[in-house]
C-alpha cells in the first residue's frame, strides 16, 4: 500500500501513514495542537497550515472549499478533518 509521511511541526513528530489517511486520524492520536470542533467540515475549528507538500493532499471538496472561503482562510490552509493524504511528504502545523 502506498505510504505518506505527515510531519506535525508543533510537536516534532513524523508519522508514516497509509495513503488515504485523513489528518484527523493521526493528529489527535499523536497529540498535535490541531483542535477539532464539529469534525464534519463545517465549523473551521481544525484549520491547519500546510507548511509544505500541499500537493500531496487530495484537493478540497466543494464543501471544504466553501467553508475555507467563508472563513477567509489564507492560502495553504486546509481543514484537518477533511484533508486526505495521497502520498509523499506533508508538513503541517495548527493555523
Amino acid at each position: 500500500m502506498p505510504k505518506a509521511k505527515i510531519t506535525f511541526q508543533d510537536i516534532g513528530v513524523t508519522v508514516t501513514v497509509p495513503a488515504g489517511t485523513r489528518l484527523i486520524e493521526v493528529s489527535e492520536k499523536v497529540g498535535a495542537g490541531i483542535t477539532y470542533g464539529c469534525r464534519e467540515g463545517e465549523c473551521c475549528t481544525c484549520l491547519t497550515k500546510i507548511i509544505s507538500g500541499g500537493e500531496n493532499l487530495a484537493p478540497p471538496s466543494i464543501l471544504e472549499d466553501q467553508v475555507l472561503k467563508d472563513n477567509m482562510a489564507p492560502r495553504n490552509h486546509r481543514l484537518a478533518c477533511q484533508a486526505q493524504v495521497i502520498g509523499g511528504d506533508i508538513v503541517v502545523k495548527p493555523a
Binding site: D10, V13, T14, V15, V26, K29, G33, T35, C44, N71
Partner: protein, 427 residues
C-alpha cells in the same frame, strides 16, 4: 424591574433612533448556563435616515409581537431598506424570518462568518435567503445623512459577531458585548436599578473565554467618539459609555502582573486516597522542574474549589491531572474542574494525565479523552501505575514530567513513528 409597565411604543434613545426590543422579566436561566434573577431584555434598534430605515438585530421568536408592535410605532415596513445582524444567535434573530417577509425589499448586512448561520436559521421557513452583503471593518451603508459603519469583532461570543457604528451620532450597536441579562423597563443605565453585578457576571460567563478577542475589539472601538452604547441585552449605556469599555479592558487583562509567566508554567492537579497518586504528582513535578525554564505548581483538588482553580488553568501553559480510579472512573473533583472550564480559553494548552489504581485504572484514559475534547494537546501518553509506585515507576513519573517540560519549552527531539505503532499505543 420597575413597577411601571413599559408602553407598547418604541423608546427614543437618540434623535431618530429607537429601541424596539422586548422585555423578558420572567426568564430565570439563559442558555442553561446563566442565572437571570430579574430576567433579560432582547434589544433591537431602528435608525431612520433621509433615504431609508435600518433595523439592527431582532428579538427572541416568542417576543416577536412586542418587537413588531414597537417597530410599527416608528416605521412602515416598506421604508425598511437595511437589516443589520450583529449576532445571529436565536435570541436576536428569532423575529428575522417574519421581518424578512414583511420587509422583503430590505438588504441584510452581516459578517462573513454569519452567512452560513443565516442560511441555517432560515431553513425551516423554506424561504430562499434574502439579498445580503457580507461586511467587515470600514464597510459602510448610507441611510441618507446617516452612515452605518461596521466593525469586525468576531468571537464575542460567536464567530459571527460584529458591531455597527452610527457615525454622525457616535452610537455604537454592539450585539452581546457590553450587554447583560438584566430586565428593567427604565431602559437606560442612569435610570435602571444597580446592574453592575450582572454586567460583570455576563462578562465572566460569556466573554471571558474570548478575552483576546475582547481586547482586539476594544482596539477598534477605542478611537471612536462614543456618545452611547446600545447592546443587545440589558441597559442602554448612555451615561459615561466609555466607562464600560474601560471596564471590559480591565476584565480582559489580568490586574496583577503574573510573575510566574517569566517561565513556562505547568500546574499539576491531583487527588489521592492513599498517597500513591500524590507521590506520582511529586515525582512528575520534580522531573518537569529538572529541565529548567518551567515553573511547576502542585495542587491537591481536595483543598480548593473548581472556581478558584479555573483562574490557574486560564493562565497556565501546561496542565497535568492525577486521579486514582474508583469504580472504573476518575474521581468527582476532577470532573467538577474539567466541567468548569468552558468559561476560560484552554485551547491548545498542553495536557497530561496520570494516576494510581487498584483494579482497572480507567481514570487516566478517560481524563486524556476529556482533555482532547476540550481542545488541549496531549502529546505524551499518561501513566497508570498499579497501587504503590516503586522506585522505577516513580522514575517513569519523573520522565513524564521531563517530557512535558520539553514540550512546554520547545525542546522535543524529533520522532518518527509508524501509524500502526500509534494505533497500538492509543488503542
Amino acid at each position: 424591574m420597575a413597577a411601571v409597565a413599559l408602553t407598547d411604543h418604541a423608546v427614543e434613545i437618540a434623535p431618530g433612533v429607537h429601541w424596539v426590543g422586548a422585555l423578558d422579566p420572567h426568564l430565570r436561566s439563559f442558555d442553561i448556563i446563566l442565572k437571570t434573577a430579574n430576567g433579560t431584555s432582547y434589544n433591537s434598534y431602528v435608525v431612520r435616515g433621509e433615504n431609508g430605515v435600518a433595523v439592527i438585530d431582532t428579538v427572541k421568536e416568542n417576543f416577536s409581537d412586542d418587537f413588531f408592535r414597537r417597530l410599527e410605532s416608528v416605521a412602515r415596513y416598506e421604508e425598511i431598506t437595511t437589516i443589520v445582524l450583529n449576532h445571529l444567535e436565536p435570541d436576536h434573530s428569532g423575529a428575522l424570518p417574519e421581518l424578512l417577509k414583511r420587509a422583503p425589499q430590505a438588504r441584510v448586512y452581516l459578517s462573513s462568518r454569519a452567512q452560513m448561520m443565516l442560511k441555517a436559521l432560515l431553513k425551516p421557513s423554506g424561504e430562499k435567503p434574502p439579498e445580503y452583503t457580507p461586511v467587515t471593518t470600514g464597510d459602510e451603508v448610507d441611510l441618507g445623512g446617516r452612515t452605518l459603519r461596521f466593525l469586525h469583532t468576531p468571537y464575542l461570543h460567536w464567530p459571527d459577531t460584529q458591531c455597527t457604528y452610527l457615525v454622525e451620532d457616535g452610537l455604537l450597536f454592539t450585539g452581546d458585548i457590553f450587554g447583560c441579562h438584566f430586565c428593567d423597563n427604565r431602559l437606560f443605565n442612569d435610570t435602571v436599578g444597580d446592574f453592575r453585578f450582572s454586567f460583570e457576571y455576563y462578562y465572566a460567563h460569556i466573554m471571558r473565554p474570548f478575552r483576546e478577542y475582547v481586547l482586539d475589539a476594544i482596539a477598534l472601538i477605542d478611537p471612536l467618539e462614543i456618545n452611547l452604547i446600545a447592546p443587545a441585552h440589558g441597559p442602554v449605556l448612555r451615561h459615561k459609555p466609555r466607562d464600560y469599555v474601560h471596564r471590559y479592558r480591565e476584565l480582559a487583562t489580568p490586574r496583577l502582573f503574573n510573575e510566574a509567566r517569566s517561565e513556562k508554567t505547568l500546574v499539576v492537579f491531583y487527588l489521592s486516597a492513599y498517597g500513591n497518586t500524590r507521590r506520582m504528582a511529586e515525582a512528575l513535578a520534580a522531573g518537569a522542574e529538572s529541565l529548567g525554564g518551567v515553573r511547576v505548581s502542585l495542587y491537591d483538588l481536595e483543598g480548593g474549589e473548581a472556581d478558584i482553580f479555573t483562574d490557574l488553568v486560564e493562565e497556565a501553559d501546561g496542565l497535568a491531572f492525577g486521579s486514582p480510579t474508583i469504580n472504573a472512573d476518575a474521581v468527582k473533583p476532577i470532573w467538577d474542574l474539567l466541567s468548569s472550564l468552558t468559561t476560560v480559553n484552554i485551547k491548545g494548552k498542553l495536557g497530561a494525565a496520570f494516576g494510581s489504581y487498584g483494579w482497572s485504572g480507567e481514570a487516566v484514559r478517560l481524563i486524556e479523552d476529556r482533555l482532547r475534547g476540550l481542545k488541549l494537546r496531549v502529546p505524551v501518553e499518561g501513566l497508570r501505575i498499579k497501587l504503590v509506585p516503586d522506585a522505577g515507576e516513580l522514575e517513569a513519573c519523573w520522565l513524564l514530567g521531563e517530557q512535558l517540560a520539553r514540550h512546554l519549552t520547545g525542546q522535543v527531539e524529533h520522532r518518527e513513528i509508524e501509524f500502526s505503532q500509534l494505533q497500538a499505543i492509543t488503542a
